[in-house]
Symmetry: D2
Subunit: 310 residues, 4 copies
């Protein structure tokens, strides 16, 4: 393990992932290690090359990032320790001297291309598309050869490359955001902040119909709200799924702990990804019925029943 703690992220400099990592106070002044994909980022964490990795987990337009969800399901020993939101917007960049009228071929990462296609269809109806491995790679390619005339890139790209902006704010959805998580090796859970989220991945038992309904009851009967439910194929056969779930609250909240116990008893495989402060800073409102003190009082009552005190 390196003396100076490092942080891995999808590079190079200028990506949205880098923008997410800039939101982490502890990462300031540390070594930042750009990687090419989520597998490499998590491998850095598992092997100790980095103390943590920033990875994209969900986009408000495109949905869950499958590669991240599947990696978290399959690689043991990881823990989510933070969540960060980055507003996703795009610019069209080109080599100096190029005008919008000159653009015939556009280099773009497929996700960025999907999120700007309305603008492209309207402004450049006859353009061709060359896919890139990342948003920054799309821009960088313009300086390597002349196959493409322009590229779709994050707004800060001109800080890193000698390119000019032909058009700004070309994302089709001005509210688009990407949600990132900071992942470390397994550590003790942090303290509650009152604005926390708990992430898990769970499989359903094979041997009963209505399994999903029964799983969701585990949360509902404890007043635990679910803010995300995504199914992912387990991959061994068509029709077998695991579920990626985000819960409002922290594992040290009594109602969340009790729901996790219920889930663990029910599911053949539960992966706890972590309890961590929410990026949206939303205070979790809990009705009095599901407050910690209600759980504690019930346990005291049960103890008294058994001992015969009351």
């Amino acid at each position: 393990m390196s003396a100076a703690p490092a942080y891995s992220y999808l590079g190079p400099a200028g990506t949205f992932t880098e923008a997410a990592l800039k939101q982490v106070p502890e990462a300031a002044g540390k070594v930042w290690h750009p990687v090419n994909n989520v597998g490499e980022a998590l491998d850095d964490v598992v092997t100790g090359r980095s103390v943590a990795a920033m990875i994209a987990i969900e986009n408000s337009v495109e949905g869950g990032v499958s590669a991240t969800q599947d990696a978290l399901a399959n690689i043991p020993g990881l823990r989510i320790i933070g969540e960060f939101l980055v507003t996703v917007n795009f610019v069209l960049v080109a080599r100096p001297g190029t005008t919008l009228a000159d653009v015939k071929v556009v280099n773009a990462h497929p996700v960025a291309y999907a999120q700007t296609h309305l603008w492209l269809d309207a402004q450049l109806p006859t353009h061709g598309h060359i896919p890139a491995a990342s948003n920054v790679a799309a821009a960088a390619s313009l300086l390597l050869d002349k196959t493409a005339d322009a590229a779709i890139a994050p707004p800060g790209i001109t800080d890193h490359h000698d390119l000019v902006v032909l058009a700004s704010d070309i994302g089709d959805n001005p509210n688009a955001q990407t949600r990132f998580v900071l992942v470390s090796r397994t550590v003790a859970v942090p303290e509650k902040t009152g604005s926390d989220k708990t992430s898990i991945i769970a499989e359903l038992p094979d041997d009963r119909a209505g399994g999903l309904l029964d799983m969701l009851e585990q949360f509902a009967t404890r007043g635990v709200n679910m803010s995300l439910l995504e199914s992912r194929p387990i991959g061994d056969a068509m029709g077998r799924y695991r579920f990626v779930i985000d819960l409002d609250g922290h594992i040290l909240d009594e109602r969340v702990a009790d729901a996790l116990l219920g889930l663990k008893r029910f599911s053949p495989n539960v992966i706890f990804l972590g309890s961590y402060p929410r990026a949206d800073k939303l205070e979790i409102e809990v009705t009095q019925r599901y407050g910690d003190e209600v759980f504690i009082e019930a346990r005291d009552w049960l103890r008294g029943l058994i001992s015969g005190e009351h």
Copy 2:
């Protein structure tokens, strides 16, 4: 409290309640205190005049005994410590010298009368009915005055009174049984036997629709079977009920304890009446999913998540 422990029961000698008390080994050779109603029996227990009282709680034909259910809901400090079944059958008795053809008027407790009315309608179609306060009182009345010609009584009545049996087995349902419970003051729960029952009374919260459904979910999500559910009016207004519930299993079974915790958090008023050996000796089968070890493993797992061990 008396030096010699006493047992109270609905008397006089010869009642079905006495037959239930004869099934209690600890009561053999002790003082037996006959009382007139369930209130008196429970008052003996509360004041310490008796160590326990035997009271009828359900009849297989007539249903729950409302007076018992309501008394258990309203009198604090009681605990059911045993359950006993008595097969209910009836004889028609009369003063010596009477024949069936002589019978014009029958003295009978209303519950006994209800359970023999098919036989009476067939054999004595024009009879009149005088209600009695208990089955034994019905028989005893024949020796006090001549208002009635015959009485419906428990089979052993001729051991206690100078009467003759005109007809036996006159109950309309040959399988009729009455379920009795032995009630003491609040004590520590007994050990599990593997064939146990847990009795509770619970009210629903006022402030939510579907409350009964939510209450039943507390049992279903823990694999706890409910063998009795009866509603009783709380009594303050039409439409307000409490529920008398029997669960398969013992409060020291993890799944039952967890269900009771869930119920306590949910209900504004839960009365635990006791966990005690079943009269029917039925072994409670629990699927592996709801076994004690599953609950213990889940708690160990949760602890490890919080500490960061795994």
Copy 3:
């Protein structure tokens, strides 16, 4: 069937059941037929001796009237056509010349006795009790012999018998009410009034755990509120129950009809007792989601999907 339509009720004149029948406009000026019990009353309806019978079905203090619930479950061809509430109060009556200090023995119907026992314990702590077959019979007995010194009776009893009131308002619960239903032979359901109730009796399927929960889901998923749920033993063995259920709304309400369809598919035995105007005149509030038009629109939508219109 008699030329003049008759109405049966638990007599004699002066009972609470008669007070309920006085609330029925159609019964005014018709023959009123007093009977001794609910079986006789319903037999009058089945045979056509009466067009309808008034019978007590629930008391706010004592709960459901088992005999009525069981009779409605077992006698086919009946339909509840109306519901009536009577405030239940009691007076203590005696032969002229008797004072409260003279009262040693009280004649009373067991239900009336149960509802006045606090008053009796306070005012006549050493009294004896003789049970009667009805509230009016208790009073009438005072004029037949001198076994009892006083009787518990309905307030209007002195209109019918030469007795004096020793004490009024002696019921322990001033809000006590009894709910009566008017029962006819099976007829077409009446029109909706917006303030209706639907009564059913249903058995659970034997072959599945959690049957009660599943049955209640049939109502919950259609937004149908349940105002009464009582279990009654089927009577063939301990532990087998049927459920007496009252639903808010009318069988001609789409959501109620749909819930009944669901229940019929689920239950091995459903008895529809009727949809009828409520005694409490409460308007049933239905959220927009469960309104009739939502059901009709959904059916139109389904038809269009199948035909390919949309």
Copy 4:
């Protein structure tokens, strides 16, 4: 609309989508129209240029095809009329004369690359990756320039291009399959076959907690099994989802129709995508309780109750 009916598919010739289209008997001998993406394919259907389009909807390893799911949610007037499974396998191809040892850079569609990465890591640990727009385009690129040395392509690629196979069966999961659907304009639903599937997309109401649970109850209470549940962001804000659902059975099955009615009443937006024969030919087993005749009998019963027949 063209005189000869055309079928659109993700081209060019040689793709897995073409393999799916070859399974459609009606398409034999018709015009096949290769397109570049699912939007173009569905646009051909909407405008009438094609009678149907074959599009990929799910991969057993990679999960749901987001672009397809989102297009079906957003483009009105479409109907799925068939389902087809294609086993997904890959070959590594190169220009004639190339050996495996020569391969430094691999051109591959990102999904194909994800499904072969274990093989690539083992056999070509130091390779570089250039992304392509489709599996066939990856192969075709080898003949346009020499940027890449090899390409990942479907097994039949050498029928269309002058390339050689360096390695076969290089997919990491030998059971990988892709599920395709054939989509036409809205038409009447086809007849039941006994082995059918029904696809829908539904949004949850905003105004209630536990909405997903309530939605799933609509299926569970009718015995309708759900073989797929995927969430997709609606796209307007983080945390708002719609659900893509496959049900076992046909809209003309009574239980499915009834569940759809329940869903329509519940959900602010339900899109019916179609009922169609299953690719896996699995006979749908229905317990007697949920059979068509049970629904029909219940309706007859309800009619009789209302009319007073019984």
